[in-house]
Symmetry: D2
Subunit: 295 residues, 4 copies
């Protein structure tokens, strides 16, 4: 299904169209079927709007069936290997395939409480959240009243649909589902971009170990050849960018204290808008540094 | 022995003087005996100079005996509880009384190699070093040649002596053995000192867990009522000062992202001069921060 | 009159007391007379309160007479040399004795309009204002209604009285009439206070030339031996602190561009609270600098 | 002559080629004539190299004649209006057409001394220098010995030729003669780019008034739609970028002091490499700001 063009979708048979987009909404090809006749779509945005409007207008029974069609997060389907291809990738993106026992027990317990209270599984657009944020969402949403939570769950289903469309359909336009996290290292001792600074980006977790998201070294412009996170939502999470600034200055022949005052410099920050553009620069000397949310 | 005044030391009998200062140099009351007749001492610095000159002029045999009189770091004496009172406090200050098994095995092996090579135990002024730095010193000094290392060990003995004198003798002057680590939090969103910011100071370790050195909250001037480290050497180590800046801004009613861009801000830095004055401020808004080595 | 102690004021004859404090309120010894019998005063604050309460309770006629007793700012009395000693010093402090022709014409015109509207001369506690601020005050207050302005003028009279008391009476307590402007230069290329940085403090003016308020060089701690402004109100004005940071780095042997990227660094800021404590540091390398309102 | 394409130059008659490029070297069409036969030129760089090689290989007599063919800076030709079109634009670019009497006298005196010492007029690539820098160059180069200065003058002639070629010939490649000065304003109180900040760029002068180089306001990304200086060398000079940050924060509804602590913020810096890329950002809150040489 990956990489079908919008033009091809507009031109293919109805059956092929439904085959191509039937999985955008989990186990619910009726959404694709409902929009076949509205072709051609002038843009990916128009296609997404048609499909999401179909979901939002479907009435309580079909909507509830759509919600129920979703698997538990980190649940039996994940362990049994019976997730849809999209769900498997999505759950893996947030590290839900690598929970420790405590985390697994917690999510199992919360999922159970959620299902009892609302009658459908907890659904969240996991690509927009780090692991801790998913737990936090689950805890918060358990406190919602049923009508509120039904609406929230549908919103998440539409968000999942938008990301799946964006991943699977090639079109001149893009859906506004991608964020970016970039960085830049300035050496204000020498008044130039800092080239060759090794860095790592870690997603932190309050419950256990964090995980390495990206690593690399700055280029001649003090930037990274590709942003540490781009072309996808930046998951809501706490991060640390860690820069090996001591090794950089040492390699440049700068006389440093032993041990150097600054060696690995961590910048800790959190992302709240997965579709936002976050620029987190490091402006450093061997004795000082600063950062800010840039653009 | 604690808290004897310099005046009292100048006035007491020779026997009492030796009893008072006999432990300044480990199991070596002959150092105190040698300076009894030079009383009165005009200052603590003069007393220290007289005692350390005695050590440095004592000749190879007595010096070697002085070195041999020292206990192994984290060695049998520590486990058997037979350390001198000063040694016990000193070894505890660096966390050598809380080594994990790997660390204990490593130091035991290195101590052994050191003793075989040099004929005396590894001596270091532990109050000037964090745990990692002690391991690093031991590894480095194992590479010295015997003459070099003999001199280095004596230097450390004299440093230990200076700190013991500084701790046990009250005098108008102070020996230059104390450093200071202070901090200050400025809120540049409001243009005022940040009051009530909770902070922790951790000593980090590459080999295992770090340890909490100090904690507290900033006062009305954005400072701490007492510096996180003062009145003693600042151990050579890597530290993190962690500031709960998110909670501070939230308490002031500032609208923040959810989660806030900055919540706990860690400042990671290393100390290289235990007798230095290190000022590590945090200048912050909800969206930016900077630090530098101040004074 | 300068430097009389509070004790002496409490002990002297009524006539001497009135002679000593008769000029605290311009040409109005009746204020001092009214408080003679309330002696002894426990503090300077109590004395100030007694005198200012007398003014505030004096009734419209005496209050109006007190206002009328004040000279025009930069007016005929100033040119004729008939100002009271205090008024002369005060007007000189704000540079009102060095107005250019345009400024003189403007203030003469505004003073005239003010007197016509309110029936008393424009009174402002000039030690709390730079030259531009005095013009701004005059323009703003011309827009007040008579009752409002009568109250404002009395407030200024009391402020003048407080500063005169603070200057002329020695007492264990101080009135809260003094602010402070301090600075500090940190060299974050070398990680130490910047010693020997020449600086100038200028009060800027939108209407003409500014004037030099203070100059000097930083000491070993990167600070100034005395704050550029202390022991008096910091006049409401726009200032520039200018630091010769290029010469400093050159003297330290740092290789610089030709011309250096940073040579004279101006920090421009304004003071709004004359009794506040303003700390305006410069944190600099040859290629970067920052400042903030510190404390 | 402006805007001829390299292709056209390669294809035209020899006479037209010389007519088109005869003025690249002042009053010296022989340089163009010498390279006619080497056509076609694959790039603007190849054309420039051929012409500059011709100059450098021309021998002392022709080179001296080339130098002598240049007009005095701010000299009689300028006043008489007999400058070549290129020279007129170049001298105007540095403000040499707006000298005050003192400056005119100084340059006239120095030009005279220079001509007496070296036998040709002072030549400098004025587009690479601000007015003060031209005076400084003239003073410095007066101290050179004749051989050194002859070489320096030829270098300047070649720089002038490169800039004239770059301005007059359209080609796929560009000569490395253009620098850039850009800026960016970040609001770290709100954590976003500062939009709508009015700014001015002034070239300062030690000898008299500076001059306004550019003005505008920041766009939605906190940048300027076009860099304040681009597409040309950045003249060697001291500059001030002045930002109306007080008005910006006021317009955003931020409560400020009266007057605001920061209103117009000047960033003063100097350019030393006209072909360099200088990025000078302002990172600001109402109570703090910082800048650095970025990239």
């Amino acid at each position: 299904m990956s990489g079908t063009s919008l033009d091809a979708l507009n031109a293919m048979t109805a059956a092929d169209f439904v085959a191509a987009l039937g999985a955008i909404y989990e186990h619910s090809p009726w959404v694709a079927e409902a929009v076949v006749a509205r072709r051609p779509f002038a843009s990916l945005a128009a296609l997404h709007e048609a499909m999401s409007d179909t979901v939002r207008a479907a009435g309580d029974a079909r909507q509830r069936a759509l919600l129920v069609a979703h698997p538990d997060l980190a649940g039996k389907a994940a362990r049994a290997g019976t997730l849809t291809a999209d769900s498997k990738l999505e759950q893996g993106s947030a590290g839900l395939d690598r929970l420790n026992d405590d985390e697994f027990d917690t999510i199992h317990r919360l999922n159970g409480a959620y299902a009892v209270k609302f009658g459908f599984p907890f659904i969240v657009c996991v690509r927009r959240h780090g692991k801790d944020s998913i737990f936090r969402q689950l805890e918060r949403r358990l406190g919602n009243d049923p009508a509120q939570e039904f609406a929230t769950a549908l919103d998440e289903v539409v968000r999942i649909g938008a990301l799946r469309l964006d991943a699977h359909v090639r079109a001149p336009d893009k859906l506004p589902v991608q964020g970016r996290l970039s960085t830049h290292v300035l050496d204000t001792q020498a008044g130039r971009p800092a080239q060759g600074v090794a860095f790592e980006l870690h997603e932190l977790s309050a419950h256990g170990e964090g995980r390495l998201v990206a690593r690399g070294a700055t280029n001649a412009d003090g930037r990274t050849d590709t942003p540490p996170i781009a072309g996808r939502p930046v998951p809501i999470a706490t991060y640390e960018l860690r820069f090996a600034i001591g090794a950089y200055f040492k390699a440049r022949g700068v006389a440093l204290a032993d041990p150097p005052f600054l060696d690995i410099v961590p910048l800790r920050f959190a992302i709240a808008e997965p579709e936002g553009h976050y620029h987190v620069p490091l402006v450093a000397t061997p004795w000082s540094f600063s950062t800010y949310r840039g653009s």
